[in-house]
Symmetry: D2
């Protein structure tokens, strides 16, 4: 029973997606692991994934994220939220199977809103088809990227081109076998106003001067999509490939981050639910000191706390989606920051406790828990560390009580 009246079409998508998870995605998990293990290449694109993509597409479970009706089903954030949560339960398979993976989702939105006709033809269409993938290059190794104005990759105008020099890392997806293009944030004008110094450009992965240095591991994992360190040496980008215009980088980033963050949070809740399910099943099946682990009151406390926290963060995420739909991303910025802090932290605690209940096995590849933890831990830093989001929330709160307000 949900708090909200959900639309008929949202209900239909939920039912269809749940059915697809049960009939295809969960059963594919073991096959996926096997195909990956066999390949011995962490960036291998396993056949099972392409099968799942076909199946999902044939069922109409495709590009569900895309809010613009001409390019996707045109669901609202509130309608999409429960779908993203469901996908989060099998994060290696479900998002890609339905063509709803980060950072493609954000990139597709950016191309939709700010791309030229050429960008749409060359990148947006094949991305929507799921035939290519894309990366997003913003974070840099040498500066605290939590403060977006720190970005240092230089973009110097030279005739009809910009010349890019610098280093990016955590360019997620750049090592995906199908990745063809990236959107790169850099500094075009160090002398402009603080939030007008940055620009975003479209750069093919094979552009001269672009070098993939390595894939960074995250908590020991070399993720399939990859977190790339990329060197840019005299990379020449035509002026037509500047998105929206010089100096618009910060504004695009802001527009891009809202939906990206909420999608991450939804999937985090899905991981938390999956972890709680695994915890409960394991606790009921394992016996220690003469009785199922689930009979111990400390484990029951964990279960209850998990249920309480999941209910709370789900509601706040739905409210945030609702606000984004009704009053806009900017007006919802406190709520977006709030879920960005709360969702990964809540999920991490639940996953950690689920690992504890699974014993040493819970830390291994035999269960999805350690992978969830690694991914969720990254979320506490991606798009800004917790501390930066809390800072923003506190500033808004304190503002209420300045100058006798209220």
């Amino acid at each position: 029973m949900s708090l909200f009246e959900i639309s008929e079409r949202a209900k239909k998508y939920q039912a269809d997606l749940l059915e697809f998870m049960d009939s295809h995605v969960y059963p594919a998990e073991a096959i996926y692991e096997e195909q990956m293990a066999e390949a011995g290449n962490p960036h291998f694109q396993p056949p099972i994934l392409e099968e799942l993509k076909s199946e999902a597409r044939s069922r109409g479970l495709w590009n569900l994220f895309h809010p613009h009706p001409e390019w996707g089903p045109g669901l609202t954030n509130l309608e999409y939220a429960p779908l993203a949560e469901i996908m989060g339960r099998s994060p290696h398979l479900a998002p890609e199977a339905t063509n709803c993976s980060a950072p493609d989702t954000g990139n597709m939105e950016v191309f939709t809103l700010f791309g030229s006709d050429e960008h749409k033809e060359r990148y947006l269409k094949p991305l929507l088809e799921g035939t290519i993938r894309s990366a997003f290059a913003m974070t840099e190794p040498q500066v605290a990227s939590s403060d977006a104005t720190n970005v240092q990759l230089s973009m110097v105008r030279d005739g009809d081109h910009y010349v890019l020099n610098g280093r990016k890392w955590f360019a997620s997806n750049a090592l995906h076998q199908n990745c063809k293009v990236m959107i790169v944030m850099g500094k075009t004008d160090p002398d402009a106003a603080t939030h007008r110094q940055q620009s975003m450009m479209v750069v093919p992965l094979d552009a001269p001067g672009v070098t993939l240095m390595r894939g960074l591991t995250v908590m020991g994992y070399q993720d399939r999509e990859g977190h790339a360190e990329i060197d840019f040496t005299d990379v020449r980008v035509p002026v037509k490939d500047v998105l929206k215009g010089e100096g618009e980088g910060f504004a695009i980033a802001q527009a891009r981050l809202g939906p990206g963050r909420i999608h991450h949070c939804m999937r985090a809740i899905g991981m938390a639910e999956r972890a709680l399910e695994l915890l409960c099943k394991r606790a009921q099946s394992r016996v220690a000191f003469g009785r199922p682990i689930a009979d111990n009151a400390n484990i029951r406390d964990w279960i209850a706390e998990a249920r309480i926290e999941i209910e709370m963060i789900r509601l706040l995420t739905l409210k945030t989606a609702y606000l984004m739909d009704t009053v806009g991303n900017k007006a919802a910025q406190v709520e977006i920051a709030a879920i960005k802090v709360a969702a990964p932290n809540i999920a991490l605690t639940i996953v950690d406790r689920a690992m504890q209940v699974h014993g040493a096995g819970g830390l291994t590849e035999d269960f999805p828990l350690a992978g969830f933890w690694a991914h969720l831990r990254t979320l506490r830093l991606a798009d800004g560390p917790d501390e930066v989001h809390k800072r923003a929330i506190a500033r808004q709160e304190l503002r209420k009580y300045r100058e006798g307000a209220r």
Copy 2:
């Protein structure tokens, strides 16, 4: 209707109540403290409270809690929730001013649902008028009352009467100057099925054999309404004063607890909001080591965490209210248990941090914080300790995964 579309009448009540808080309640707080200090009697009924009651009533802000249209405005739980939260911001004044104090609210519902015509005439009407008050006697000093079946006060049938012997404590409100009657839970049949052994009876406070032993302090506070220890020695209660019938005590308790718990939670959120407001104001006005305390990132973290947690628990409380309205108290039992655990704990942390920001003064009568803390700490035990509610939530969660469900 979505959660965020509130009915016109609910909006009207909110606006009216907020206006009443600003114009009358907050300004009355200092007067209240003064009148109480002057009286030197912790159970004194200060004149300011009677003035507030008149004012509230004349504004139609009266008995807002009562869900039955013939006896009150007939608001749904979802409509009443934000009003109870607002009242919680000034918990010593606003609930009594609007005749929405525990345990009267619960008792009035019990009289409405299960009282005889005589009970309605003699107790319900003056309670609704605010001319008398009532107590609820359930907890006992000698047993763990978290397990309701432990109740031991004996109720032995003797002709047309029951004879009551035993001891109660934490009979809240029994020391209120206007208290006239109490509802008493006891054991009529130790040999009946576990949940049919208990009965509830209506007992005037001045019945022969009833002795108010003392008012218990809570965290040092002797509350005005009082937490009484009461001795019952051969108290004779006519059979007509058994509510609903012999053996119905447990069922009435269940019916009574749902709304009571949600009201407590709503008010707890109100206290949390008030504490956060005080924290922010204080942090901006106090200077240490050369700058306002509010400039320190640890205090900002506290503020952000408070805002996040308040948003989450408010939504879960509203969802619970919505479920109680739509599918009933029983179907909402997991959610009721969840907010019963989460709301006081969240509020306690916020109040504790607000005290910390206020320095030693925050622990004194100069600010409402220490009183909030004491009250909220009691809530973690009233109507069952956290651990019992978590136990219930975990049992429901584990049940999902028995016998291959899901």
Copy 3:
């Protein structure tokens, strides 16, 4: 000598004190509560306390705190620490019975080190006899006293006197029936270097211009010794009553705080041990849902965590005492700050959980737990809030890594 080899005399004192606790102090607790309740005056000095004082003194358990052999037994901090912990188990009785109560202990040290012959004769001797008591007035209502340089009470030289004007609060002990004198911190020279602006003066409680405004409640408690708000209006203090000299206030405060803080921490550990004992006993004697509460794994986790934390904080407190004895208070400042933060917080959690296990009764006067909590909560602010001590610890830690150190 290792930490665990204690001197013979320290062992003897421990054995004697433990015997005294068992034979006299614990049995006196109920009598104390009765005498206080009967008196109806929170500042009443009950006869049982004077009896305990005689008994302790006759047993040689007197002034154990005093480190200077000419005035007391001359125990080291390391020898005294376990004794203070034992006293902390009955904090209303044992410290006063043995003449080891704050703030007298600190004041006696100050008089010993910095008092004139007259101060020693008039105040130190009767304090050591236990016939009078004393207060310490440092905290002020209008400024953040966590920053000692904020002190504002003005002390203006006028001939052979200083004239004091200002307001103090949390002048602990000032409402004790036997209190005769206080040590007052104020500002003599706003233009001096930051830490030379303050002076400390000896002021009789009945000096003209001194008005006890009220006793502040702490978490609802009006403590027997009292936390007084005191007004100073044109109070004339002879120059001879300036301690050590004008501008020495900050230095004396520093000297005074070390031992004071460690004594507080030791007693906090004693409260934690007592709370854990009460928790264990209660958990084994109360039955809910068919078995003793102590059989539940969540309660067992609490017990284990309490034992672990107590062991850790006790060792750190002993190490701190050892450092104070061997390298001095200044060299031990990080450790002093560390225990000042850790001890009250650890004890608070244990006491809170003990209250939870006791049910609603745990919050009342029937158990010492709520009083412990109130006292320990105050400790998180007394002599500087946690945040100020953490700030100091972090600064020292960061300093290690400046300028390429290590």
Copy 4:
């Protein structure tokens, strides 16, 4: 300044080891990473390690752990503790360089105490030389190994042999390139008394019927030493290779675990210190929003809390070592359990916060933090999960208050 008088030889070893860390170990870390990356084989034994071993040995920093003077320097636990902590700062290199790695240390002790002359000649000597390594096979995939009596690998007597059948996992070190032998725990007599059913046997890694199935990843890491899953099918072990005797498995496990656990805890503290150092350095060198991250009070709180917790857990670990030396492992069992719970949890929080301060890079191979976290997380399960140790501590605590004991 340490709390304890340390012996001259312990001081000498500390100074020598610290010098070795600075001059050889830390500089070798980058080389190690490079050699491992180049090899592309997670179980590769890199040349740098053999160089470090030679160097350490030539400096007399070899087998420091071994308490028996005929086989090693014969340090007490209290003397060895600070050395193990120092090694923990570079956990991939220092323990192996000094031949003090788990599980060899425990296995060498077992061979010393319970091995036959043949075992000593064939295994103990080369282990002490560092020319071979060994594994320990206790945990099983199908049962909760937290309850040691659950062990199921069957060991059936057949003439002069036992026949082993079953499955082990988390047999640490079994994938180390130099590993030659393992000690295996199994069940010889299901009908014996609960703690007499188990036996331990010495099994060469290449014994017929032993199959290394795979190396388990831990939080994404395939550790160099490996956590092996091993199948035993009709493995024949001569009776002479039963350690101590049939039915002695549980007793040996108990004897083995004490030192093993304390070594783990010491190294955990070393990791915590290293993480705090990295945190402080990074926080001082990174700038966000116009100032070094270290200027933020929330980061300073983390630093202070880390310092406080490290001091406390180190002291408890030292006390535990002291008790093991003076009253024996059995009498120190509560303390051993306490540090086994506290040390990894304290270290995990510090490492997690250090990662947060490092931003996304902190999760990668560019810093040792993620590897520390993975290892420390495993420690919360190795040799029994936290919950089992807390259970044991609580049982001892509750026992004090049974039958009127006090």
